[in-house]
């Protein structure tokens, strides 16, 4: 039996190998092959997704920096920029949940820092298999602890996110993390901001380099070592949040003092990526001295140093005149630093180690000229399962209500979110548990609203609608808080793109995201694609997670989710249709995930957003809460649970009661308003063309839907709050 050729064992296709040979005009050596294999991997090159991502809208008046850099940048006015991005760390988390999640936080934070921004908030959308399986509980507990362990230790508050549970995530948990940063617009470190030229130095600082994350490429080591040597190179990375905190402070001190020409984090593909991208962006090449790289381990081979993904490292591009000052900053924060390269004319990356040249390749060929595929896409055959909306329902309505309310997709996330510091930095106006988190812009009245939303179940039934819903719900969550949606980032979580069905799901998702973003005027500023989330024949549902950023001109005008008092009038904004397909009710009460997800009328969504923002601006709204999973019933319950104020409402609907209560029709919200503001609210709704239905009043200790449901708020609270502790066996 003969082994396949080396390039294939490194994950490169035959035609990709031919392309490398053509680029170099010769056969690549092992070190060069390793560099191409990591840079041309799906993870770094986006080779399967690029053709689709290109169709997304990326420009708008608020967008300062769009896709293609470490993070997107949005103009908040008054010289302040919001920098934000989302990434996945699902694969590492499936192996070692604590460290996988922790290093995911570290990576996205460095992306924000490398733009010259101070990280000010984290959000964590997480998806796991059902918690009745022990391994899923282990993954869930480990990921949550890892996010807390890292985020809490670097002093960046975790202000929101969401938890989702589905069978499809049993083998493949989805761990996404979004980071928001603030920067002065004129201090942004972007591709165009510095002016590195020949002679500029590349200073590597932070942690030393070990054999972390070499993973698949370690086949090179075994290929060059003796047969049978049991050389298990660990591919799991251990996070060091303490080092990250020092890295943040040191990097921002350099930015603040104007010492840098460029700044790059080291993430996937390590030094190879940082060196080649920095050089390519400057339109230059680089002379690299690998021997200068501080090592954690002895005997590392050049390719290992080049592709190591050791955490907590950054690369600064520095004018030699500022080198001493930059190194003094590193010293003050106790960070080792070393000049590892110099920018030179021409586009070549020349790497020296041990007195000889170990690699010589065009920087651009690694960073920008990777392969690009238009992979075959094919829709799966449709299912002929009956839509649950029209099935007869004869169970007890109150039981069904509590079942939906205690589903882990709906129940209180407190168990997880109490493990995250939401107070540090002192700017969290609204934290976990609100529709959108709101972070105050330091020194101003402005607030940035953020929401992350993914709709995996809808995506499974219809990936186009799943994506539209994700964008729409994220925008709605931002606008119920009173903020104007400005732009999105995203993390696209999918199975194997080499399977036509997955590629079709991806293409449909992009189409949906595009339509929704165009309708809302919220361009895509960047994001991340995570493919290969499948094992055996089990792939995750196509799950685009959308991170929506909105602006509140005055954070004091933020509208809370819960009813703040008794004696208020309660309105349902938006129309309810018979839509139980893909609903929480259909899954947990009827045991059916089938049918069509609710339709989305984009013009209705836009009208709703405009109405909510206008009403908030006039301080008409006492509360506003998005209607999402679990429909009107859950929305009302959460409004009451959040404050302890009950309600009495009437369902004026022609629909069957369970449909009216649990339909997940889009473009809806529940608002409460002081009776003195009702006339104006009705008028405003008319102006925006938004349907408005008066449901009843707030007040008292009970949650009453006239003739259908009557429970105490205390009962609902206990059910909703106690769901996770019960599922995890911590409470009877």
């Amino acid at each position: 039996m003969s082994d396949p050729p080396l390039h294939r064992r490194l994950g490169l296709q035959d035609d990709e190998y031919e392309r490398i040979v053509a680029t170099l005009g010769r056969t690549p050596n092992h070190t060069e092959l390793a560099m191409y294999s990591v840079m041309w991997s799906e993870h770094c090159s986006y080779k399967s997704s690029k053709v689709h991502l290109r169709t997304l809208p990326t420009e708008g008046p608020a967008v300062l920096v769009g896709p293609g850099q470490d993070a997107g940048v949005v103009d908040l006015g008054d010289g302040v920029a919001a920098v934000f991005k989302m990434e996945s760390h699902s694969h590492p988390s499936a192996i070692e949940p604590y460290q996988g999640a922790a290093t995911g936080v570290g990576g996205i934070v460095r992306d924000i820092v490398s733009m010259g921004a101070r990280p000010v908030a984290l959000m964590d959308p997480l998806m796991f298999g059902p918690l009745d399986e022990e391994r899923n509980r282990w993954l869930f507990g480990g990921v949550v602890a890892g996010i807390g362990g890292y985020g809490n230790c670097i002093g960046v508050p975790t202000v929101g996110g969401e938890l989702r549970f589905a069978d499809a995530h049993t083998a493949n948990p989805t761990v996404n993390v979004l980071c928001l940063g603030f920067a002065d617009v004129d201090r942004l470190v972007t591709a165009g901001s510095g002016s590195p030229g020949p002679g500029s130095l590349m200073l590597l600082y932070g942690a030393s380099t070990g054999r972390d994350g070499i993973g698949g490429v370690s086949v090179l080591a075994s290929a060059t070592l003796e047969e049978g040597s049991d050389d298990s190179r660990p591919s799991v990375q251990i996070g060091d949040p303490f080092a990250e905190k020092l890295l943040i402070e040191a990097s921002l001190a350099m930015v603040e003092a104007g010492l840098l020409e460029g700044l790059q984090d080291l993430g996937g593909a390590g030094l190879t990526c940082a060196l080649s991208e920095s050089a390519a962006r400057a339109g230059l090449g680089a002379q690299v001295d690998l021997d200068a790289v501080p090592r954690r381990e002895d005997g590392m081979e050049p390719f290992e140093v080049l592709i190591s993904e050791s955490q907590e490292r950054m690369l600064a591009i520095v004018d030699p005149a500022h080198l001493d000052e930059v190194r003094a900053v590193c010293d003050r924060w106790g960070l080792p630093s070393a000049v590892v390269a110099e920018l030179v004319e021409g586009g070549g990356l020349m790497v020296r180690a041990g007195g000889s040249i170990v690699a010589e390749v065009p920087a651009r060929s690694l960073a920008d000229d990777g392969p690009e595929y238009e992979r075959p896409a094919e829709a799966p055959p449709g299912d002929d399962v009956e839509d649950p909306t029209f099935l007869p329902f004869e169970k007890d309505l109150a039981d069904a209500f509590v079942t939906v309310l205690t589903s882990p997709n709906v129940a209180s996330n407190r168990w997880a979110f109490e493990q995250y510091d939401r107070f540090v930095q002192g700017n969290t106006v609204a934290g976990p548990g609100q529709d959108a988190a709101v972070v105050r812009v330091p020194g101003s009245l402005k607030g940035v609203a953020l929401s992350t939303d993914g709709k995996g179940r809808y995506g499974r039934l219809d990936p186009y609608l799943g994506a539209v819903h994700a964008v729409a719900e994220a925008a709605r969550n931002v606008s119920v808080s009173g903020a104007r949606p400005l732009a999105i980032t995203n993390c696209l979580n999918f199975g194997n793109p080499e399977r036509p069905v997955v590629m079709w799901q991806f293409a449909e998702t992009i189409r949906g995201m595009r339509d929704a973003c165009l309708a809302f005027g919220t361009p895509v500023t960047g994001g991340n694609v995570s493919f290969y989330n499948e094992s055996g024949d089990s792939a995750i549902d196509p799950t685009p997670v959308i991170g929506m950023l909105g602006l509140l001109e005055d954070h004091r005008l933020r509208v809370p989710s819960a009813f703040p008092a008794g004696g208020l009038s309660v309105y349902l904004v938006g129309d309810t249709f018979p839509e139980l397909g893909g609903s929480e009710f259909a899954e947990v009460v009827l045991g059916i995930v089938a049918g069509a997800p609710p339709a989305v009328e984009l013009t209705a969504e836009v009208a709703l957003q405009g109405f909510l923002v206008a009403a908030a601006g006039e301080t008409l709204l006492s509360s506003a809460h998005d209607c999402g999973d679990g429909g009107l019933a859950v929305t009302l319950a959460e409004c009451a649970i959040g404050s302890g104020h009950g309600f009495a409402v009437t369902l004026a609907s022609d629909l069957p009661t369970h449909v009216a209560l649990f339909s997940e029709s889009a473009a809806r919200a529940v608002v409460s308003v002081d009776p003195t503001g009702e006339d104006r609210l009705v008028q405003l709704a008319g102006d925006h063309g938004v349907p408005l239905l008066r449901l009843g009043e707030t007040g008292g200790p009970r949650a009453v839907v006239d003739g259908h449901l009557d429970l105490t708020v205390a009962e609902l609270t206990d059910a909703w709050e106690g769901a996770f502790p019960r599922l995890l066996g911590e409470r009877a």
């Binding site: 807390g148 809490n152 107070f423």
Partner: protein, 237 residues
């Protein structure tokens, strides 16, 4: 009008709430002075705050490495002269590791980090952060820590209770002591400890995050107001 009291806030590598403490001091009318762990000079401050965070990653034991930093010799001497010293969260852990306060802080009973708003019952008015407060009064302040369970040897505990060295206990909003309102399982619900002179206080909850009503509760205001008063007076209460 007297000058604003100068309150030094020490930044150790890994300190996180240092900026927040400085902002809170300024909000309450003090002059916040940044102090650096490696420099023993206290810059003529009238009071010292050791802020929260994860100094040195809290990797060995919480506060253990910071307690031996160059600046700590000066802080210990300052405390010995009766200067007001407040340790918050990691700062409390540092004060215990430095031997300025009795007991130690270990992992929460739940073994999980906990971030929530809690109620503190004032137990002693004879400290630099409780001037003007009456024992039994309750204040709402956030906690956020993984290792905040205060423990002591039987001997230490007896002395702490006999000498009235408990500054704050976790309670319900009505001042009731029960397990439900003890976020970390602390012995005798202890949230904060004072030294016998009352000029050194450590507590796990974060008064600096309970000053601005836009971003949290306001139970930290009277504590910091008291600290500023004590700093101005130049001597312990």
């Amino acid at each position: 009008m007297p000058d604003a009291p100068r309150v030094g806030v020490v930044t150790f590598p890994g300190s996180l709430d240092d900026r927040d403490a400085m902002r809170a001091v300024a909000t309450m009318g003090g002059e916040a002075v940044s102090l650096w762990h490696a420099e023993p000079d206290l810059r003529d401050v009238d009071a010292v705050v050791l802020p929260g965070g994860f100094s040195y990653g809290d990797y060995l034991r919480c506060g253990a490495i910071a307690a031996r930093a160059p600046i700590m010799g000066s802080v210990i001497a300052f405390a010995g002269r009766g200067g007001p010293v407040l340790g918050i969260c990691n700062g409390f852990q540092i004060l215990c590791e430095a031997g300025l306060l009795p007991g130690a802080l270990i992992r929460n009973r739940s073994l999980r980090f906990v971030c929530r708003e809690v109620w503190l019952r004032v137990e002693s008015s004879g400290t630099v952060v409780t001037r003007g407060l009456v024992p039994g009064e309750v204040l709402q302040v956030p906690v956020k820590h993984g290792e905040g369970q205060w423990v002591a040897t039987d001997e230490q505990l007896a002395r702490v209770e006999d000498d009235g060295l408990v500054a704050f206990r976790y309670s319900s909003s009505d001042g009731i002591l029960d397990d439900e309102h003890n976020p970390n399982g602390a012995t005798n619900h202890v949230a904060g400890i004072r030294n016998p002179a009352g000029n050194v206080v450590g507590l796990m909850p974060h008064p600096e995050h309970a000053v601005d009503p836009d971003v949290g509760p306001t139970g930290g205001q009277p504590l910091l107001a008291s600290l500023l008063e004590a700093a101005l007076a130049g001597a312990p209460a």
